[in-house]
């Protein structure tokens, strides 16, 4: 997807860019708020401005997968962009034709309020963590849409109860409790859950592939993200 950003075909280019914005805007916004201590309004403008400038100047076309991970490259571009913006004391104007609608800045701000500052102040780790959160959040949304389209209300409800609400083991219901709650045999509960998790895993990988810069990086991130290889 990252490579498609440099595609000569404008439609491919646009879709690739939108996918990148979707994958990265929230970590970028939170990073600006915490690392650069930008006000809410400035962070919103800088987030919009950064992606607009990246598209205009082809920041991402110059990405070399042999030298860094895309995430690292994007963060370096972002730091450079903000430093320049601040030096020239020139705030990017909103609505300059490149504004991305539908970025839920208020939602991102509410998340920041719940999370607080990163422990130890390691901003690289923080950016990574936010990127993973955003990726998983998008995969959950994609699963929700997929289930709604396919009429799979029950599997998503079970996934939500068991894996999202029950992410804290102490609050996780047992399969038997879920079976009673939903009026299903226990075997169906496990079958539905297995289906939802399989779809979720597929969607995580699909989302990840959109957000990485090369096949090799995708492979490495898939391993790192799924907790297999050490960072």
């Amino acid at each position: 997807m990252v490579q498609a950003v440099g595609s000569p075909d404008p439609e491919t280019r646009r879709r690739a860019f939108e996918a990148l914005v979707a994958a990265y805007w929230k970590p970028v916004y939170k990073y600006l708020r915490l690392k650069w201590r930008a006000s809410e309004a400035d962070a919103e403008d800088l987030t919009q401005g950064f992606f607009a400038r990246a598209l205009e100047k082809g920041f991402f076309d110059r990405f070399d997968p042999g030298r860094a991970r895309f995430r690292t490259y994007l963060r370096a571009c972002l730091d450079g962009f903000v430093a320049n913006e601040r030096k020239s004391a020139h705030r990017f104007k909103r609505g300059g034709g490149a504004e991305h609608v539908g970025l839920d800045f208020a939602g991102a701000e509410a998340e920041l309020g719940r999370q607080g500052a990163p422990a130890g102040g390691d901003m690289e780790e923080y950016f990574h963590r936010e990127w993973v959160r955003s990726l998983f959040g998008r995969a959950v949304e994609a699963l929700r849409r997929r289930c709604a389209e396919a009429g799979k209300r029950v599997p998503f409800a079970l996934f939500e109860r068991y894996d999202l609400d029950g992410s804290d083991a102490a609050r996780r219901p047992s399969y038997a409790e879920l079976a009673r709650e939903m009026g299903l045999p226990e075997t169906q509960v496990t079958n539905h859950l297995a289906w939802a998790r399989r779809e979720f895993r597929r969607l995580v990988l699909e989302t990840l592939e959109e957000a990485t810069g090369s096949e090799e990086e995708f492979r490495a991130e898939a391993r790192r993200l799924l907790g297999i290889d050490p960072p």
Partner: protein, 307 residues
């Protein structure tokens, strides 16, 4: 979009990582061991109503060559039907495309834990059983290449199982041997030729070297007095830097240890006259003690008769 807490992200990570056994007759339980290529889980075989160990590839998008390596591992294990080698029951592919295979679930303790308090002769008997399993693999044309205490399990009845044949290779060449320069194995247990990635030079004597290191490990708890010199010499001979200077086979190494246990001279250690006397005295301790007791009794009786 739904807010995901750190705990939720961690949980979803494990969910995404956890293999889906849909369409197979197995139910997944907890992970037992995690390696570079695959993770071993405890699983339930519903058909036979028994617990098994199920190894599944870590990544749905494996690196090139990994699928072949794991398939080779399963096939190697399937060929090695021996009480000292964990048997393979099944090989298959998960719905997400990951390869898995199913083995007997091994119950017991790792060699390092199982032998911590055992007397020397018991440790050496265990070592001999490891050698038997490895010698059998060699006879079938397979070199293990990653023998170490962590890869040996000792069961409740002293039975030994050699595990983790993930880097094993066919001696005669499988046609899929890794390229020259590939280094697989564990530092401290792999011979110099393996550490240098000279894959075409690796044969049974690589395992002889590793077993020498395992024997050394088993002797390391001998305390201040140290291990018997003959055993130290056997270790050193097995771990010679050049393969030509080692025992030519694992059976030869095991035979040396057997000679030591039988209080016979070992080939790796030329003993002095005093050591020979001490060894013979140890070997014939019981008859010597009986003779001494008899002589003592005769002396006492003779003295009593005089009085």
């Amino acid at each position: 979009m739904r807010w995901l807490s750190d705990a939720a992200v961690d949980h979803l990570r494990s969910v995404a990582d956890r293999p889906d056994l849909g369409g197979t007759p197995y139910e997944l339980a907890e992970p037992i061991a995690r390696g570079g290529m695959g993770t071993v889980y405890r699983a339930r075989d519903r058909r036979l109503d028994r617990d098994v160990a199920l190894k599944v590839m870590n990544a749905p998008a494996p690196a090139p060559g990994e699928v072949e390596r794991m398939r080779d591992e399963a096939r190697i294990l399937a060929r090695l039907e021996h009480p000292g080698i964990v048997p393979v029951h099944d090989l298959g592919t998960l719905p997400d495309g990951r390869l898995f295979y199913v083995m007997k679930l091994v119950r017991g303790r790792r060699l390092d834990e199982a032998t911590a308090d055992a007397p020397l002769h018991a440790r050496l008997r265990t070592f001999e059983r490891i050698c038997e399993a490895v010698a059998f693999a060699h006879a079938q044309g397979v070199v293990h290449r990653d023998l170490k205490p962590e890869n040996v399990m000792v069961g409740p009845f002293g039975e030994v199982l050699v595990l983790d044949w993930g880097v094993a290779r066919w001696l005669a060449g499988s046609g899929r041997a890794e390229s020259h320069g590939t280094v697989l194995g564990t530092p401290g247990y792999m011979p110099p030729e393996q550490a240098r990635g000279e894959t075409d030079r690796i044969d049974e004597r690589a395992d002889v070297y590793a077993l020498g290191a395992v024997l050394q490990f088993l002797l390391s708890s001998e305390g201040e007095s140290g291990a018997p010199r003959a055993l130290e010499a056997i270790c050193a001979h097995a771990r010679a830097l050049h393969p030509d200077d080692r025992y030519t086979s694992v059976s030869e190494l095991a035979a040396e240890v057997e000679r030591f246990l039988a209080a016979l001279p070992v080939h790796a250690y030329p003993e002095g006259p005093l050591e020979r006397v001490a060894r013979l005295a140890a070997k014939y301790r019981t008859p010597l003690l009986l003779v001494a007791a008899y002589l003592l009794m005769r002396t006492v009786l003779a003295l009593v008769a005089r009085v």
